[in-house]
């Protein structure tokens, strides 16, 4: 894998994250931080995959990383965690598998349909588990909740 392969998808994610941030009305000051989250999330996903881990493990790791990033940054800057979390999570959404699931259902190709459907569920579950683990850990750490 070349340098290009690592960074190009992450840069695309960076741009997409900024655009998503505008949709969610995140103001410019926080937009950059959120976009860096999206960039880092994708970079971690690619690096984990390059080490030979499955897509599910990679998604889990990336979701874990982005949640820790979002929780720490949100606490430091005293803003809602969602501002950083939502934008970072979106590039992990398994768009390709969801699409494949739909298409194969129409084609009547049940074998591939079942496979892509299971993949979709597994990746969604991996993302949820990543967010769950990181957020729960952070909740344990904080003594007093700040709003």
């Amino acid at each position: 894998m070349s340098f290009y392969d690592f960074f190009l998808p992450s840069v695309k994610c960076f741009v997409a994250s900024i655009a998503f941030g505008v949709q969610f009305n995140i103001k410019p000051r926080h937009l950059i931080g959120a976009a860096i989250g999206g960039f880092g999330c994708q970079l971690i996903f690619i690096i984990t995959q390059a080490t030979g881990a499955s897509e599910i493990i990679s998604c889990f790791t990336a979701a874990l990383a982005i949640t820790i990033y979002a929780e720490i940054l949100a606490r430091k800057l005293r803003v809602p965690v969602n501002m950083y979390l939502v934008v970072g999570i979106i590039p992990l959404v398994p768009g390709r598998y969801i699409y494949e699931t739909m298409i194969t259902l129409v084609d009547g190709d049940i074998d591939i349909f079942l496979r892509s459907f299971t993949d979709t569920i597994a990746i969604a579950g991996a993302i949820a588990m990543g967010v769950f683990s990181a957020s729960s850990a952070v909740r344990l750490l904080k003594v007093r909740t700040k709003i």
Binding site: P9, A16, A19, F20, K27, P80, V93, G95, I147
Partner: protein, 248 residues
């Protein structure tokens, strides 16, 4: 501040927070803190579609129930309300001043409509490339994404259900992608559909769902989970029917 004034104020703040995409526990905690700051105690029950607040005012319970109908993601407003509640807890201003602040937050919009449209175009375009599409795919995915938001605004008047809205929008996206491919402008329609559909992914709903579950608000979590599934199914049905009809 009298109990009734306080009740009206916190219900305004709480419902606006939920409307704009805050988690349940955040809204509940905010209301709790504000009422405590003025020396009252409150019982709060919030789910994504309604909120019930009871304030104990000198032995007399005052209750307000509110239905939350509109849903529009505006994370900046959540942040502003958060800061406002922190300000209220420290300064304890009077009702008129707080209402002025709430009104100012309601008026405020970070980005204009044109910039929003550009951002939709960018989301569609970049995701089309991200999922392996070419330049022309990105151009048309952007167009489809902008059409999605325009369509959402056009059918807003008939108060569509979430499911209907998703079916209509994805039907339109898929039809556009297939027509463009038939005309020979792009090689395949799948990248356009995936890219444009990313604008409809209920990102805030999915995230809030997970965060509600973590916070222990299982009822709210189930509601948002159902909403996310309905959106996904609606999108699938819309694109699938367009593909099934137009590619035979």
């Amino acid at each position: 501040m009298s109990g009734i004034e306080l009740l009206n104020m916190v219900s305004d703040i709480g419902s606006m927070m939920i409307e704009c995409g805050a988690e349940i526990y955040r809204a509940e905690e905010t209301i709790d803190r504000i009422t405590l700051a003025y020396g009252y105690s409150a019982e709060v029950f919030i789910i994504p579609t309604s909120l019930i607040i009871t304030i104990n005012s000198a032995g007399t319970p005052l209750t307000k129930a509110m239905r939350i109908k509109a849903r529009h993601t505006n994370l900046d407003r959540v942040d502003k309300l958060n800061n406002l509640s922190r300000f209220i807890c420290v300064q304890k201003p009077d009702a008129a001043e707080i209402n002025r602040h709430i009104e100012a937050i309601r008026q405020r919009s970070v980005y204009g409509f044109t910039l929003k449209l550009i951002s939709y175009y960018a989301v569609g375009g970049t995701f089309a490339i991200f999922f392996g599409g070419g330049f022309m795919d990105a151009v048309f995915a952007g167009v489809a994404a902008v059409l999605i938001i325009l369509m959402e605004m056009a059918i807003e008047r008939v108060r569509p259900s979430t499911f209907f809205r998703c079916v209509v929008c994805s039907l339109m996206t898929a039809s556009l992608a297939i027509v463009v491919t038939r005309l020979g402008l792009t090689e395949s329609f799948d990248k356009i559909i995936i890219g444009a559909s990313m604008t409809m992914v209920p990102g805030i709903t999915i995230t809030n769902c997970m965060r509600d579950f973590i916070a222990g608000d299982f009822l709210a979590g189930l509601y948002t989970l159902t909403e996310a599934i309905i959106v996904a199914v609606g999108m699938a049905i819309g694109s699938v029917s367009a593909i099934a009809v137009l590619t035979v």
